[in-house]
Amino acid sequence: MKRMTFEQIKEKLQRFTVGIAGCGGLGSNCAVSLARVGIGKLIITDFDVVEESNLNRQYFFRDQIGKKKAFALKENIEKITSHTVAEAYDLKLNEENLPELFGECHIVVEAFDLAVMKKMIAETVLEKMPDKPLVMGVGLAGYGNSNAFGVKKTGNLYICGDGETETSEDLPPLGPRVGIVSNMQANQVMEILLNGY
């Protein structure tokens, strides 16, 4: 870790763009954290709307229920800071639109809930944008066992989480563990940008 003042950190992060693939538990919290530390631009995408059941972990509010997640998250980021540009897209990502949408990003953050989508983005970025770092969140269900979390790096792929727990009816995704992993992702993004560029 380089020692830098917050002013130096903000000044450097201001130059970068990060893509956030999904605005649920991982994406909404990761995006807000990156906005707080002064990232220049976030490209945020989601096709879903805010539901009451999301409020146990996602960075939304009761009066946003029914709103499109991408636009609601943009609203929340703009309430926190004027230094981060949030470009919001209400769409479902796929192999075709992903490279187009995130082409200008320095880093892409994977923030989906479905395993099939996590696989899709990993394969698409590895195959079509091999130089772009992809920061994923894998393994975050339930509660407790904070010591299980870590970051695994293989090439340009960074995997944050416990790598073990999969969400299910009796192993739900909840604020504390989802918050930890989403902020590990934000922390990893900072590390790559501040040390590597």
């Binding site: 999904g22 649920g24 538990g25 991982l26 994406g27 923030a111 989906f112 809930d113 479905l114 395993a115 099939v116 996590k118 696989k119 990993a122 394969e123 590895l126 195959e127 969140g137 894998v138 393994g139 975050l140 269900a141 293989t154 090439g155 792929l157 995997i159 989480g161 790598g163 073990e164 727990t165 999969e166 969400t167 299910s168 995704p173 989802v178």
Partner: protein, 68 residues
């Protein structure tokens, strides 16, 4: 005899090469979704049967788990 690195661990097999499909079977990778990399290059599902792994290869099988 073939030696490979699988998820950062040395593994030995009684053959000179095997397909990705065979490796996944032998190692009983049971999650429905995973990403496979051989020597840093992604191998997609439709290529599992035609991609062979040989001596010294570096193989990563990364499980994708629901949750976010």
């Amino acid at each position: 005899m073939m030696h490979i690195t699988l998820n950062n661990k040395e593994e030995k097999f009684d053959c000179n090469s095997m397909t990705v499909s065979r490796l996944l079977e032998e190692k009983k990778f049971t999650f429905p979704y995973f990403v496979v990399k051989v020597n840093g290059k992604v191998v997609k599902k439709e290529e599992y049967g035609s991609t062979s792994i040989g001596e010294g290869d570096d193989v990563k099988v990364i499980h994708m788990m629901a949750g976010g």
